[in-house]
């Protein structure tokens, strides 16, 4: 009794030491390069500043500005007068479109690319190609494809009878959708790689057993592949949420710093940029960042809590 207790005790201590030492390098580096900046941002959110002069303590005033913006937006103020509300509304819609679609597409692509068929290599590379180009270049190419007489309208007109060409980039209704399409196109191939990796961890025996039981490919996909991929789905969804809610570069290129027609492509990150560098209110930018942080943290936390518990 006594000896086995000490055995467990020793093993546990060993595990604690091992765990802490394995994470030490990552934690130290991130404290130096990450948390200092984060604490600075927290500090900044209580100050009025213009980068050049002295900081001025203003208490919660910066947060008040954000809340007033939100209230004004809820009462239907035009977007120029409630930028944060506009950005938030847009980015939530955008995220609700992008994250599920990109995740699902990434799994589907990985599942297909993981099959032993001829030309599999070619398909894999073609799905991966969009991810290799930087998003600014991607956006530039797509602006051109999305033009009124561009290739996308041309293609849609051939697929959908009676299709009227859309001026995607200059339209209030379609700009956000166009940005979302570009994002999905670029990231689904990116996240495909994660799923390809995770699929290698699924034991073959499970598939073989399922086949013996007469389960078809679709059924195997939904009842074996997807559940076995759960931890990686958590990764892709969480990273997707973090990326989508902070989306900046696509909107910057496709919609411009002011969010394009009627602010249709305005995002919270654009608004934070504008606060920090066009209106020179870094304190307000920091306060808005904490609002965004709270939203990202809550959504990812809830998602992880529901699906992403550690195994032991």
């Amino acid at each position: 009794m006594f000896s086995s207790f000490s055995f467990y005790e020793k093993a546990r201590n060993k595990e604690i030491v091992a765990g802490l030492s394995l994470i030490s390098i990552a934690v130290i580096l991130n404290i130096v390069f990450g948390y200092f900046a984060m604490m600075f941002a927290l500090y900044l959110s209580f100050f009025k500043w213009d980068y050049i002069g002295e900081m001025q303590f203003v208490g919660l005033k910066n947060f008040e500005i954000v809340i007033r913006d939100l209230i004004r937006g809820l009462h239907g103020a035009p977007y120029l007068l409630s930028p944060f509300y506009t950005g938030l509304k847009n980015i939530l819609i955008y995220t609700a479109i992008v994250v599920p679609v990109q995740t699902f597409l990434a799994i589907v692509l990985a599942a297909f690319a993981n099959q032993k068929i001829k030309g599999q290599q070619f398909f894999k590379v073609s799905y991966f190609l969009p991810a290799t180009t930087s998003s600014v270049i991607v956006a530039l190419i797509f602006i051109w494809l999305f033009m009124k007489n561009g290739f996308i309208n041309f293609a849609l007109a051939h697929i959908i009878p009676g299709f009227q060409p859309i001026d995607w980039i200059n339209s209030r209704e379609y700009l956000l959708l166009a940005i979302a399409i570009v994002a999905i196109w670029g990231t689904s191939g990116h996240f495909m790689v994660s799923f390809l990796a995770a699929m290698q961890a699924i034991p073959k025996e499970i598939y073989e057993a399922a086949m013996l039981d007469g389960a078809g490919p679709i059924r195997r996909f939904f009842f074996i592949t997807i559940p076995m991929l759960r931890p990686m789905i958590v990764y892709v969804v969480v990273m997707g949420l973090i990326g989508a809610l902070q989306m900046f570069d696509l909107a910057w290129v496709m919609a411009g710093a002011n969010g394009g027609p009627g602010g249709a492509g305005y995002t919270v990150a654009l608004d934070i940029y504008n606060e920090a560098f066009t209106r020179i209110r870094p304190g307000v930018a920091a306060a808005k960042s904490w609002f965004l942080f709270a939203i990202i943290f809550t959504t990812t936390y809830l998602f992880q809590k529901k699906y992403g518990r550690a195994m032991r």
Partner: protein, 451 residues
């Protein structure tokens, strides 16, 4: 386990050592540390050891490619030869330039000398970030510059920056399309501009004029040339600029250019006579003009190197020409866009920084870096007939204007320009009425300048 830990730390330490010594991979050493500076001094000036310590100043700009970088490097070398006690470290920030300069001010590590666009200047001047140039320079030197370019950089009798170069708006027109339409000369007035655009569209099937959706700074010459005061927004009450009847009238005219020239014409099934660059598949006015999709644009000197470089077959003089910006009821007005060289007020070596600025902006520097490069106009008087100046640029300099407005509407120029343009664009597309747009613009002024 210990082994692993030690191993990990070793790797980490090694990496750090590499970083600290910075000796792998053939990195060119840039003089950043103090020690380096001193050793250089010692080797270079062995005879007069310790007479004077070499001072390093940091100079930051954005880029116009490798050619410009080499020009600058050559000039810097020349400067260092003439001033052996001063070293210059040239830093390039290719994008988000002012954002980075601001952030480096915030961190207390801003460069000694840096570019500064006119629209960003008030922020830097108001907050005391710039060293007053008038305390360093001789008045005779300052007098060599175009006076209207200096105006925006003065405050309380002091001058805070000298322009390194500038550009101005002019009318670019396609001679061939003009010929096809039977037009013999460029439009003289704003009314003629619209009229000609219509004629060209009807006769050639190509839109006569391209303008930006929005683009407040392109509208300002219309207002001022018709008698409106120059826009200036410093306090919330300045929103009353938009109540001026001339402003209301000209703004309506400008917005209607697009509403009538594009939207209504298309509803009638006619060729639009005014378009935005995007309507003809172009990224900006220069593209639309270079592709010969439109006959006229009002744009700046930056068009000139662009057309020469990207559309070499579309020739100045034969295919296209330049004319002054059309006149209004009370004269002819154009916009000027300029970039100054600022000296950091917190610089430890303002004297040396000034020496460098004086060298770059002096006649020698302007000749090499501006006139010969052909990208922009020299900010110093006296080059108007320089044989090295591109003829296109020379022509823009020869135009006579009653007024030149430097792109600057007060301390919040950047955000105001963006938001005004947005409201104007919404009105052009017909998403709101012109009166609604004016109302939004007034609210924006009040909002931006209230705190």
């Amino acid at each position: 386990m210990k082994k692993v830990l030690v191993g990990g730390l070793l790797i980490f330490a090694l990496l750090f050592a590499v970083v600290a010594s910075g000796c792998i991979g053939g990195q060119t050493q840039t003089p950043t540390g103090e020690t380096k500076t001193e050793t250089q001094v010692k080797t270079e000036t062995k005879v007069e050891t310790q007479v004077q310590e070499k001072v390093f100043i940091r100079f930051a700009g954005w880029s116009a490619g490798e050619t410009e970088m080499k020009n600058y490097e050559r000039m810097i070398k020349e400067f260092e030869q003439k001033n052996p006690t001063i070293g210059v470290k040239y830093e390039v920030i290719t994008q988000m330039f002012h954002e980075n300069i601001l952030a480096s001010f915030g961190a207390g590590v801003a460069p000694d000398v840096f570019y500064l666009d006119s629209s960003w200047a008030p922020i830097f001047i108001d907050k005391g970030a710039l060293y007053p140039i008038s305390d360093l320079a001789d008045q005779s030197f300052i007098d060599k510059f175009y006076p209207f370019l200096l105006e925006p950089f003065k405050k309380n009798g002091k001058l805070y920056g000298l322009p390194k170069d500038w550009s101005m708006l002019a009318l670019f027109y396609n001679k061939k399309l003009f010929e096809q339409a039977g037009l013999t000369k460029p439009p003289e007035t704003w009314e003629e501009l619209e009229e000609y655009a219509k004629i060209i569209a009807d006769k050639t099937g190509k839109p006569g004029l391209a303008i930006y959706l929005g683009g407040f700074n392109r509208y300002v010459p219309v207002a001022v040339s018709n008698g409106a005061p120059k826009p200036w927004f410093e306090k919330p009450e300045d929103a009353s600029w938009f109540d001026n009847p001339v402003v209301k009238e000209t703004l309506a005219w400008y917005i209607n250019l697009y509403k009538k020239g594009k939207i209504e014409r298309e509803q009638q099934g006619l060729t639009p006579y005014v378009v935005a660059p995007g309507d003809v598949g172009a990224g900006w006015l220069g593209d639309a003009f270079g592709q010969q999709q439109v006959a006229m644009v009002i744009s700046g000197n930056w068009m000139i190197p662009f057309l020469a470089d990207q559309f070499p077959d579309f020739k100045y003089g034969e295919d296209w020409d330049i004319a002054p910006v059309p006149a209004g009821k009370s004269g002819r007005v154009t916009m000027a866009y300029t970039v100054i060289l600022g000296i950091n007020a917190k610089s430890e070596h303002p004297q040396e920084a000034w020496k460098f600025v004086e060298f770059l902006l002096g006649p020698e520097g302007q000749k090499e870096l501006v006139v010969k490069a052909g990208q922009t106009l020299p900010s110093m008087k006296g080059f108007e007939n320089d044989p090295d100046m591109w003829p296109q640029h020379r022509k823009t300099l020869s135009f006579k204007y009653d007024d030149m407005i430097v792109f600057l509407w007060g301390p919040k120029s950047g955000p105001l320009e963006g938001k005004f343009s947005d409201a104007m664009a919404a009105a052009m597309r017909g998403e709101m009425t012109i009166d609604e747009a004016i109302e939004v613009m007034k609210q924006v002024v009040q909002e931006e300048l209230s705190s």
